[in-house]
Amino acid sequence: MWKNLERKSKISASERRKEVLTSLQNLGYRLYEQMEKGYFPQIEMPSRSIENIYYSPELRQYVLGERKVRRSARNIRHIRPFTQLVWAAYFAYELTSQRKTSTLRDVYYSAQAYGMSFKDQPESNSIITDLETVIGFSREDFNIFPEERSAVFGDLTIEYTVPGYEGKRLNLTSHPDGVMIGPALTSAEFVKTSADKVIAIEKGGLFTRFIEERVHEKFNAILVLTAGQAPRATRHFIHRLNKELDLPVYIFTDGDPWGMHIAMVIISGSANAAHLRELTTPDAKWSGVWATDIVNYKLPTDPLTEIDIKRLYELQRDPRYKDELWQREIKTFLKIRRKAEQEAFSRYGLTYIVDEYLPAKLEESS
């Protein structure tokens, strides 16, 4: 069941690049005009303060409210971050137009080449987040990528758009360790796939086991390794798999509050990214390991720690967790006071998780 996506996705990746470039140019143009007219340049953007972050039930993610902040170059306290922001916009423009990539760390050092300085990494990170807020694109869109890397494996053919590889295609089953979700893959176009679902996995060990056990074939799935909390590039990648390829997404994590939250951030995003869209996959499902699985499958467990319990109470009040499933699982965790890792299934043999548990859970969650 091959899907031919060529036309649809081609537009999406290069169009997006153009949109990013245009909005960066427009920012420069606005500032230029202000100065040319004899005004101190100023920038208005949605406030990212905690009071302006709301959970949107329609979008099923956190969003920023109406409140705006204005940065003015006339204000002595604003002018430095203002300048850093304008520099960052120019740097992002150069990266994107020349199709080069960079990392947050790299941005921090690159500034010095332009006679700009950041006092530390958090300062430069925060300026990049400002830039995301101002132009409404995430930093991966202007080619600034995180250091963390996750991976993907499965029958999906992509076509690179990065310089030197334009038009080159790759099937994501080519490498048995999976293919790293780096800048090149993030900007690649999806060409075709035979998969009908995506399975996201928290841990590398299980990801490798799934590949060995040919889960991608048995379940017709694209496997994504989140490597703990999924980086934004990975979340965006999952979002694209879901939106562009219409693939349902199932997430497997450890059976504890931290694993739950890894799934939740893929589904509904984080408050930190309230200014961004297209990082969430609201229809994705958390398929395990649930607290009820611990009971039903009699998994080997560890007791919940104080911190685990505190975290569970926090999650219980979190608007993203209001659905019945989440509340039920949180209650169960609190009741049994135990947690289990994905590897716990190995007590039933190496293939049990693939042969028994996975089909049952996929059935259950879809």
Partner: protein, 506 residues
């Protein structure tokens, strides 16, 4: 008691009590000897309204058996010179001279250099040399010793030289035991502070290591010389009365009072004697000790004495004080203040205060305090001094000042009788009247310093502000231009100019 006292000569008395005069130990002695002679020299020049040139040389002459050094001290000045016939007494007799207690002078004990010479003679048994000329055709050169028991000079040699060059001044040279190495910090500090207080003087010092210290005058302006004045009756004590009686040539009480006391005329003298129940015709030399005590008490109680005037005082004046501080401390800022004349216990006094910031003033975690009494630097027992206490009672934060700033505070008290707390004469007692004047003076200059500091802070803030705009605006312009794909950057000169005018709005 009085009888016993009379049997000891003043020279003998000071010999036995040399701690009082500041010759406590070899280090202190050399400091005091230099100070006494330098102050004499400065006085001698000021008397004839000539900016002083003082040259001081100290040479080592070897060690004593006790391990201290013997030094040869030579002090030269361009002062009035001393008439030939007075030279032996001026340097060979303790308590000689008209300058004793008639006006504000520097010499703290009225002893001039005699005590120093006496100390030199005691410790080295060597005679002193005095060379002096009043600018006439002759120069007189004496070699002297002091007969301690009889308080008389012994002239060993007297030479008369022709004064071809018209030289005027005095040279004193004698040997004394001392400890220069230990005294050095105080001696150098003394010269520096003397240079502050006498900005019109050239002072040169060559120390035993052959180092030359020069303090050049910054002006030839000099303060008006003090008018000679007599003690005010309110401030007279038994000892002073005794001394005046010792030197007086009056043979009745009315003349005695009129001649020796400030603002006492015929009328008041008679009224007072009536009040004191004392015979107008009595010869003061015949007063018994009990009568002298009675007289002193009556003087304090008599209500009709006129208040003293301050014309006898010789403050340095604001301009000279400023000049002296600028010359020696090279501060960024200085404020000076001269208080109006005031009195304590019948003694007129004037307080002068200055505050200086920055420049060569060290940061030592506390204010640098310079204390002067009748223009003499006070270098010992700082923490006991009233000025020290006043400074540390002030809430400096009110003035935006903290002790770790480089700040020097100078307090000068001039009075016909400086209220020293002890016989050592190194610190001022906390007399409420004096304390109040010092406090108000310091407050006044502190307010000026506060204005300076806040204005400077404002200017610096503005400068920093402007620098920040000048640093960042061109960059904003540059990157915006590149982003917008424009050829030339926008004109931001107008924006930069406007920053200078704007406060911190928005």
């Amino acid at each position: 008691m009085a009888q016993t006292f009379e049997e000891i000569s003043p020279a003998d008395f000071f010999y036995r009590n040399r701690d009082i005069a500041g010759f406590t130990n070899p280090a202190r002695a050399i400091f005091t000897a230099i100070r006494e002679l330098v102050e004499n020299s400065l006085d001698a020049a000021e008397q004839i309204l000539i900016p002083p040139d003082v040259y001081v040389r100290l040479i080592s002459e070897g060690e004593t058996s006790r391990g201290n050094e013997i030094y040869r001290l030579r002090v030269e000045d361009n002062g009035s010179g001393i008439p030939s016939r007075y030279i032996p007494s001026a340097f060979g007799q303790v308590l000689f001279g008209s300058k004793y207690k008639l006006k504000q002078t520097r010499g703290t004990f009225g002893l001039g250099g005699t005590m120093a010479i006496l100390y030199g003679q005691i410790t080295t048994h060597k005679p002193a040399k005095v060379i002096s000329s009043t600018g006439g055709s002759k120069i007189f050169k004496y070699t002297l010793m002091i007969d301690i028991q009889r308080n008389r000079p012994i002239i060993l040699e007297r030479k008369i030289l022709l004064n071809r060059e018209g030289w005027r001044g005095t040279i004193v040279e004698f040997s004394l035991e001392g400890d220069y190495m230990r005294a050095m910090p105080k001696i150098l500090e003394y010269f520096k502070q003397t240079a502050v207080m006498n900005p019109y003087a050239n002072i040169t010092f060559v120390d035993p290591r052959g180092r030359l210290y020069m303090f050049r005058r910054a002006t030839t302006e000099m303060p008006p010389p003090p008018k000679e004045t007599k003690p005010h009756p309110y401030g007279v004590d038994v000892e002073l009365l005794q001394r005046i009686i010792y030197i007086t040539d009056c043979n009745n009480m009315v003349d005695f009072l009129k001649k020796h006391f400030h603002r006492v005329g015929e009328n008041i003298a008679r009224k007072f004697l009536k009040f004191a129940n004392m015979d107008e015709g009595k010869n003061p030399k015949e007063l018994s000790h009990e009568e002298i005590v009675h007289l002193a008490r009556a003087m304090k109680r008599f209500p009709d004495f006129l208040p003293p005037d301050a014309s006898c005082l010789s403050p340095l004046g604001k301009e000279l004080l400023r000049t002296g501080i600028l010359k020696e401390l090279k501060p960024e800022f200085v404020a000076v203040c001269q208080r109006k004349p005031s009195t304590y216990a019948g003694h007129p006094f004037i307080v002068e205060v200055a505050i200086a910031y920055g420049g060569e003033i060290p940061r030592k975690g506390d204010f640098v305090l310079y204390r002067f009494a009748n223009r003499i630097p006070l270098l010992y027992d700082e923490a006991s001094d009233v000025s020290f206490k006043v400074i540390h009672s002030i809430n400096w934060r009110r003035y935006g000042v903290s002790p770790d700033m480089p700040i020097a505070i100078l307090v000068h008290i001039c009075s016909t009788k400086v209220p020293y707390k002890t016989v050592g004469k190194e610190f001022i007692a906390d007399r409420p009247e004096v304390k109040r004047e010092i406090l108000n003076g310091i407050r006044e200059v502190a307010r000026q310093l506060q204005r300076f500091l806040s204005k400077r802070a404002y200017v610096e803030r503005q400068k920093r502000r402007l620098n920040i705009f000048a640093k960042y605006l061109p960059k904003i312009a540059e990157f915006s231009t590149k982003l917008a794909g424009k050829e030339r950057p926008p004109d931001i000169k107008k924006l930069l100019r406007s920053v200078e005018k704007f406060g911190e709005e928005i």
